[in-house]
C-alpha cells in the first residue's frame, strides 16, 4: 500500500438515485465538506464500466481510500471488492431513497439525508485503513478429536476423508464409547422396523486402518495452549508418557453418561437386581446373545417386562434432571423389541407420559405396536420388589386410575443423559453438580477438566444450560465461544447415535473452515474472511482488564506485565473489547472508536428552530442492519430524521459515541441489537448482553447532562422485524418531537 | 343412446311411499335433463346401513352388498353402480373395499352367494350420484341446462357425514367440503358459509336416542338459520329426514321457531332446469318450500 493516502468518493446515479437525488450536489458535499481529493458521479457504478473507473483511479490516480455512495454495504460486495484498499459505503439506496416517499415535499429532507450519509462516509473512510490480515497465523492442518465414541469416530473419519490428519484421544482402552456397549441400535434405514447392528466394529476397523488417524488410547488432554491453527496440545497417557501435538482445530466429543439410577430408590433401583437402567438392559441383551433374556436375580427367562420412561427426567421438582433426553423413548422401543423379537409371548409394556420419537422413530414406534409391545400412558410412582415379581405402581393417565399396577419380572428405567462437559468455568465457586440437582448430599466431586485450556477464562468450553457445553443454539449450533473448538454429540445436547453422527459431520466441516481461516489470518464465524483484528495501543492501557474479562471468546490473555495479550486467531472481531475499553486504546484498522465517532460528528445538525431533529441509530450489522435494508427493499418508509451507523455488535458500542452524539446536539440515540439472555440471538453470544449492561449506566450520563432518559433508547431487533423496525423508528421520532429539541444544539 | 348409463341402486328409503321417495322423483327428472340413464338393479336388496353392524356382524353385512354387486354385474355388465343414498353408497363401497382387500372374506362371500345362485367375478365401481354429476358430467354440463336460476335464494349446503367420510368426494376436504356449495352456485343460488356443514345429524340415533340426536340437529338448523340460510340442502336421505321432520319437536323442546325447508340437491337442479314442483318432488316436503315452488315450472 502506498504511503500517500488519497481518498476518492464515487456517487452512483443508478437504481433511481439519479432521479431522486441531486448527485452533483452530493459530489459537491464530498469535495467541499468531505474534503476528498477526488469525487465523481457515475450512471451505473456497479457496472463493469463503473468498476473500471474506480480501478483506473486506483492505478492511475493513486487512490488508496474509496468512499462509495450507492447501495447498502451489504449489496454488490463482489463488484465493489478492492482488497488492497480501504472502502467505505454510504447507503443512499436502501437507507435513503427506498425508505422515503417519492414526493415533492419529501425531496428536501431526502436530499439532506443523502448528504449526511456522504459526509459520514467521507469521515469514516479517512479514519480507516485497509486491513492487512493477522500476521500471527498458524499452519497446522491437524484436527484433534477428544473422545472415541460414535461422535468422535465420525469426526475423525470425516476429517480424514476430506484430507486432514487427525489425532484421536480416548480416555478408555478402546474405541466405541457407549455405542460399543449396545446390543443393537435404533434403525436408521428403511423400513425402520427392527433394531439394527450398531456399526461400531466397522467404524473402529476403519479408524485402525486409516494411516491418517493417530489414536491415543488410555489418554487425556493434559494441556491445550495456543490458538486455532497453532494449538499446542499435550496428551498424557496412562503409562505416564506425554506427547505433544501441533493442532489446527479441536473437536470435543466427550459424550454423556446415563443419569445415575442409584438416585431413584423409589423406582426399585438398588433394591432389586431385576430393576436395571437402559445400559443395564443392553448388558443383559449382550449376555443373552440373541437367546432369551434372563432375570439377574435368579437366571430364569424374563416373561414380563415394564419400561419406565422419564425415570429421573423431566422432573419439575428440581430433584432430578429437568430436561428430556430425547433418545430414550426410541431406546426403550428398541429394547422392548429385544424381548418381542425373541419371544412374542413376553409381555412388554412401555409406561410413558409423552412418547417422543424423533427422526424416523414414528415408524419404529408403530412397528413395536405391531409386534405387540403395549404402550400405556401412565406416570410411575414406585416399583416395589416382591418375593417373585416386581410391582409397578402407576397413575393411568387415560383412565385416571391412580392405583394402576403391573406385576412384572423385570423393570427398565429410562434415565437419560448427563453430559461429560468438564469444568463449569462460569461457576467456579458453585458446587459442581450434574443435572442441576441442588441437594447437598448428592454433590459430586468437582469434574476434571477435559481440554485443560491455558486460557484466561478457564480450562474448558463454557456451558450453556444443564451442564451441556456451549453452542450458538438457535442459529449456529456447532459454534462454541472458543474459536476453533467445536463440541459435538451428546456433550452438546442430549441425542442419539444418528443425531450424533450428523452433528459430528457438520462440526468437522466447521473445524476445517477454522483451520483454513487461521492459516490465512482471517476471522472465522460470523465475520468469516475478515482480515481486520484488534490492535491495542499498550502505552495508553491502564491494565483495567475489562477487555480480557469481557471478551466472550477468551481471545485475550494477560501477559506477565498484566497487559492484554491478544490471540488474534481466537478473535471473532466483534469489537466487544473496543466497546469495553474506558481509555479507547483498542481498535481495528477498518472499525474503531474514530471511524464511528467521526461519522457521528460529520452529520450536519440543524439548529433548534429548524423542526428537524436528528436521531442517531447504532444498528447491529448482523440482524438490525439487514432488517433495515430489507425494510428498504419493501419500501417500508421511516423518518428522514434518523442517521444510521452499522456496528459489529452492540458489545462494540463505546459509550463515548453516545456522549459525543448528545453533546453534538443529536436529539435522540437509538441502539438496535439482538436478543440477549436465555435464547439469545447475538452472533457473539454475550456481545449484546454486555453492550446493554454498559448502556444501563448511561442514565447517569443523561442526568449529568440534564437530559431526558428517553433521549437514549435500546431496541431489541431480530432479522425478521422488517415491518416492526420502521414502525419503532417512527414512534421514537414522534416521541422526540414530543420531548422537544435537544438544548445542546447551539453549543 | 343416453350420454351415460349406470346400474342404479335406489335404496330402501327411495321407494314409493318411503321417507325419501321425493328424492327419487327429483333424481329421475334431473337425470332425464342431463341425459343420464339409470337402470334399477333387478331385485336389489338393502345394504343394512351402518346400523346393521350390531345384529348383522361382518360377513353377513358384506354378503348383502355382494348380492347387489353380483346382480348388477350379471344384468348390467360393465356399468358402474350408482347410489343416491349416502348410507347405501358407503355400505356398498366399504364392502367392495373389504372384499377386494381380503381373499378370505371374498372366498366366504362367494360361498354364501352360492346359496342364492350368484357369484362375483369383478366388483363394479360403486359411485354416489354426486360423483357421477361432478366427475363424469362436469360442472359445465351441470350448468348448461339451467333455465330458471335460483337467484336470490340462500341455501345452507349441509353435507353431513356419509357422503363426506370416510370416503368423501374426490379432492374434497373432510372438514370443509365445497362440492355442495358449488352445486348450489351452479344452479344460481347462494351458498351461505356456516359452521355445521359436516356435523352429524345423529343418524340412526334419531330413532333410538331422539334427545341426543335432536340436540345435534338443533345445532345444525340453528347455525344455518343464524347465517342467513332460507333453506337447507343435502345429498343424504337420512340427513334430510332427520333435519326436516324433527324441527317441530325441537321447537317444543328448545322454544325455537324453526321452519326451514330441507331439500335435496337434485330438487334444486330439477327446479333450475325448468322442472315443475311435482317433477322436483316438492310435494314431498314436510316443511314446504314456497320460494322454490315459486320458481318451479316458470316459463
Amino acid at each position: 500500500m502506498s504511503a500517500e493516502k488519497k481518498v476518492a468518493a464515487y456517487i452512483c446515479k443508478g437504481c433511481g438515485l439519479g432521479e431522486r437525488l441531486d448527485a452533483d450536489a452530493l459530489v459537491n458535499v464530498a469535495q467541499k465538506e468531505g474534503k476528498v481529493q477526488l469525487a465523481r458521479s457515475h450512471d451505473f457504478l456497479c457496472s463493469e464500466e463503473g468498476v473500471d473507473l474506480i480501478k483506473s483511479d486506483i492505478a492511475n490516480e493513486g487512490v488508496t481510500h474509496i468512499m462509495i455512495g450507492a447501495c447498502s454495504r451489504r449489496a454488490k460486495t463482489e463488484a465493489f471488492y478492492f482488497p488492497q484498499n480501504a472502502v467505505a459505503r454510504a447507503n443512499l439506496r436502501e437507507g435513503v431513497i427506498w425508505i422515503r416517499p417519492d414526493t415533492e415535499e419529501a425531496r428536501e429532507t431526502t436530499q439532506e439525508m443523502a448528504a449526511d450519509y456522504i459526509r459520514m462516509g467521507c469521515a469514516e473512510i479517512k479514519a480507516m485503513s485497509a486491513p492487512a490480515g493477522n500476521p500471527n497465523t498458524g499452519s497446522s492442518r491437524t484436527l484433534l478429536v477428544v473422545g472415541g465414541g460414535v461422535s468422535g469416530m465420525t469426526a475423525a473419519l470425516e476429517a480424514s476423508r476430506t484430507g486432514y490428519p487427525v489425532v484421536l484421544v480416548e480416555k478408555s482402552g478402546q474405541l466405541g464409547g457407549w455405542a460399543a456397549k449396545l446390543w443393537r441400535r435404533i434403525p436408521v434405514h428403511e423400513p425402520f422396523k427392527a433394531p439394527a447392528d450398531t456399526g461400531v466394529a466397522d467404524m473402529v476397523a476403519q479408524i485402525q486402518a486409516d494411516p491418517n488417524i493417530k489414536v491415543y488410547l488410555n489418554a487425556t488432554v493434559a494441556k491445550t495452549d495456543g490458538a486455532p491453527g497453532r494449538f499446542e496440545v499435550q496428551i498424557a497417557t496412562e503409562s505416564g508418557s506425554v506427547a505433544t501435538e501441533d493442532i489446527g482445530a479441536i473437536i470435543q466429543a466427550t459424550g454423556a453418561e446415563p443419569y445415575d439410577a442409584n438416585k431413584l430408590p423409589e423406582l426399585g433401583y438398588g433394591k432389586s437386581p431385576d430393576v436395571v437402567d437402559q445400559a443395564g438392559l443392553e448388558a443383559l441383551a449382550r449376555a443373552a446373545n440373541g437367546g432369551p433374556m434372563l432375570k439377574p436375580s435368579n437366571g430364569k427367562p424374563v416373561k414380563s417386562v415394564a419400561f419406565v420412561q422419564c425415570a429421573g427426567q423431566r422432573d419439575a421438582g428440581g430433584q432430578h434432571l429437568s430436561y428430556c433426553s430425547g433418545y430414550c423413548c426410541n431406546a426403550s422401543i428398541k429394547q422392548a423389541m429385544y424381548f418381542k423379537d425373541g419371544n412374542p409371548d413376553v409381555d412388554t409394556t412401555i409406561l410413558f407420559t409423552d412418547l417422543r420419537t424423533p427422526g424416523n422413530g414414528e415408524d419404529f414406534y408403530r412397528s413395536a405396536q405391531e409386534k405387540g409391545v403395549i404402550f400405556s400412558k401412565g406416570k410411575v410412582a414406585s416399583v416395589s420388589p416382591g418375593a417373585d415379581a416386581l410391582t409397578v405402581n402407576f397413575h393411568d393417565l387415560i383412565l385416571d386410575d391412580k392405583d394402576a399396577r403391573l406385576e412384572v419380572d423385570l423393570v427398565v428405567l429410562a434415565t437419560g443423559q448427563v453430559p461429560n462437559s468438564g469444568v463449569d468455568i462460569e461457576a467456579p465457586n458453585k458446587p459442581q453438580v450434574e443435572g442441576g440437582a441442588a441437594d447437598a448430599a448428592t454433590v459430586e466431586a468437582k469434574p476434571i477438566s477435559i481440554l485443560n485450556l491455558q486460557y484466561r477464562q478457564g480450562p474448558d468450553v463454557p456451558q450453556l444450560k444443564w451442564g451441556f457445553t456451549d453452542s450458538h443454539f438457535i442459529c449456529f449450533p456447532y459454534e462454541t465461544r472458543r474459536t476453533g473448538i467445536y463440541t459435538v454429540g451428546p456433550v452438546r445436547r442430549p441425542m442419539d447415535m444418528a443425531q450424533a453422527r450428523e452433528d459430528a459431520t457438520g462440526a468437522t466441516l466447521k473445524a476445517i473452515q477454522a483451520i483454513e481461516n487461521a492459516q490465512l489470518g482471517r476471522a472465522a464465524h460470523p465475520r468469516s474472511g475478515d482480515l481486520s483484528f484488534p490492535k491495542v495501543r499498550l502505552e495508553g492501557c491502564t491494565q483495567c482488564k475489562r477487555c480480557t474479562v469481557e471478551c466472550p471468546f477468551g481471545a485475550i490473555d494477560e501477559d506477565e506485565r498484566r497487559f492484554p495479550l491478544f490471540n488474534e486467531s481466537r478473535c471473532r472481531r466483534c469489537g466487544t473489547c473496543m466497546g469495553a475499553c474506558p481509555v479507547r486504546v483498542i481498535s481495528f484498522e477498518n472499525y474503531s472508536v474514530d471511524t464511528v465517532g467521526s461519522q457521528i460528528k460529520a452529520v450536519d445538525i440543524p439548529d433548534e428552530f429548524s423542526e428537524k431533529p436528528r436521531i442517531l441509530i447504532l444498528a447491529c450489522e448482523n440482524d438490525a442492519y439487514p432488517a433495515l435494508d430489507m425494510a428498504g427493499m419493501q419500501h417500508n418508509e421511516y423518518s428522514a430524521f434518523v442517521r444510521i451507523i452499522p456496528v459489529r455488535c452492540l458489545g462494540s458500542v463505546n459509550t463515548i459515541w453516545i456522549t459525543d452524539a448528545l453533546n453534538a446536539g443529536y436529539d435522540g440515540v437509538m441502539l438496535m441489537g439482538c436478543k440477549h439472555g436465555e435464547n439469545y440471538q447475538c452472533h457473539f453470544v454475550k456481545g449484546s448482553e454486555l453492550g446493554r449492561y454498559r448502556l444501563s449506566k448511561i442514565d447517569d450520563t443523561l442526568k449529568n447532562l440534564n437530559l431526558e432518559t428517553d433521549r437514549v433508547r435500546d431496541l431489541e431487533v431480530a432479522i425478521a422485524d422488517i415491518e416492526h423496525v420502521p414502525a419503532m423508528i417512527n414512534q421514537y421520532a414522534e416521541r422526540i418531537v414530543e420531548i422537544g429539541m435537544s438544548p445542546f444544539k447551539s453549543f | 343412446m343416453a350420454k351415460k348409463e349406470y346400474a342404479f341402486y335406489p335404496g330402501c328409503s327411495s321407494q314409493r311411499g318411503a321417507s325419501a321417495s321425493n328424492y327419487l322423483t327429483s333424481v329421475n327428472a334431473m337425470c332425464k335433463t342431463l341425459d343420464v340413464k339409470i337402470t334399477e338393479i333387478p331385485d336389489w336388496n338393502c345394504c343394512s346401513a351402518s346400523i346393521g353392524y350390531a345384529e348383522g356382524g361382518e360377513l353377513p353385512r358384506h354378503v348383502l352388498n355382494a348380492r347387489n354387486f353380483a346382480l348388477a354385474e350379471k344384468h348390467m355388465p360393465g356399468q358402474d353402480i350408482v347410489a343416491t343414498c349416502a348410507a347405501c353408497w358407503l355400505g356398498a363401497r366399504e364392502s367392495k373395499e373389504r372384499l377386494e382387500h381380503s381373499s378370505v372374506l371374498l372366498q366366504d362371500t362367494q360361498e354364501a352367494l352360492k346359496e342364492a345362485g350368484l357369484n362375483i367375478k369383478a366388483i363394479p365401481e360403486v359411485r354416489h350420484m354426486v360423483e357421477v354429476l361432478i366427475e363424469d358430467l362436469g360442472w359445465n354440463a351441470l350448468a348448461a341446462p339451467v333455465k330458471n336460476p335460483l337467484e336470490g335464494l340462500k341455501f345452507a349446503g349441509y353435507v353431513g357425514c356419509q357422503t363426506n367420510r370416510p370416503f368423501g368426494i374426490s379432492g374434497e376436504n373432510f372438514e370443509n367440503p365445497m362440492y355442495l356449495d358449488k352445486l348450489i352456485e351452479t344452479v344460481g343460488g347462494e351458498a351461505v358459509p356456516y359452521d355445521q356443514k359436516v356435523t352429524c345429524c345423529g343418524g340412526a340415533l334419531a330413532f333410538s336416542e331422539p334427545d341426543k340426536a335432536q340436540a345435534q340437529i338443533k345445532d345444525i338448523v340453528e347455525s344455518a338459520y343464524d347465517h342467513g340460510a332460507e333453506m337447507i340442502v343435502t345429498p343424504c336421505p337420512l340427513c334430510q329426514a332427520n333435519v326436516e321432520i324433527y324441527q317441530g319437536h325441537i321447537n317444543k323442546k328448545y322454544g325455537t321457531k324453526f321452519r326451514i325447508p330441507v331439500l335435496y340437491y337434485s330438487q334444486l337442479m330439477t327446479v333450475a332446469y325448468g322442472g315443475s314442483a311435482k317433477e322436483a318432488g316438492l310435494d314431498g316436503q314436510v316443511i314446504k318450500a314456497p320460494k322454490l315452488e315459486a320458481i318451479a315450472g316458470k316459463k
Binding site: Q369, I374, F375, K377, D396, I398 | C12, R16, G17, A18, S19, N22, D43, N45, C46, S48, I51, G52, Y53, A54, E55, G56, G57, E58, L59, P60, V63, L64, R67, D108, E111, A112, L113, E115, A116, G117, C161, Q162, R165, P166, F174, V198, C200, G203, A204, L205, F207, S208, E209, K212, A215, Q216, I245, Y246, G248, H249, D283, G284, Q285, V286
Partner: protein, 210 residues
Amino acid sequence: MSANAQMATKYKNNFLKEVEEQVEMGEWVKMCMQCGVCSGSCPTNFHPGWEHPPQEIFMMIRAGKREEVLTSPSMWMCTSCYNCIVRCPRKLPITHIMHGLANYAHRLGVAPKMQPTRSFAKLFWNNCVKTGRVNELKLSVGLYFKDGLSQGIRNGMAMKDVALGLLKAKRLNPFELFGGHKCKDQNGIHAMLKKARELEEKRKALKAAA
C-alpha cells in the same frame, strides 16, 4: 358355561388378544397412540352417560378390563359419522372397531340390556333381512312397542305429528304394515345370510381354538 365365560376362559384373560381375534378390526387396537383426537371429534362426547370415549376404550382393552368394556354403553353411542376415522393420525378404523366391539358384546349377550340403540339395531337388521328391504313403518312401530304396548302407544302418540307430516307428504305409506316392498328372491337371501353367519362363526371359533 355361557358364551361369554367360554371366551374369557379361552383367552385366559388376555383381552387384547381376544379383541384382536374376535372383534371386527380388533387387530388395530394396539396401534392407538393415545392422542385423544377421536374423543374430541365424537359428536356425542358432550352427552351425559357417555362413559368412555374411544381413546379410553382402547386403553381399557390393553389394560385387560374385559368386563367393563363389553358391558359399557359407550360403543352404542356411535352415530356412524366417521369423524374419528378421518381424523385419527394413526388411521385406525375407529368407527368400525366401535361397531365391532358392540357386535361382539351383543353376540356374547353381555351388552347392556336396555340399551335403545342395541334394540333398534336388532330391529333394523331383522326388518331389512326379512324381505330384503327395509319396511320403515314396521321399523318405527316395532321401535315404539319394544317396551310394551302402553309405552308403545305413548311413543306413537309422541311421534304422531312427525308421522302425519310424512303421511301428508306421501313419504309414509300406511299399507306398508300389510306387506310393502320386498325382494323376489327372499329364500335365496335368507339362505345366503344363514350360510354367511355359519362361516363367520366357524372362522371365529377356529381362531379361539388355536
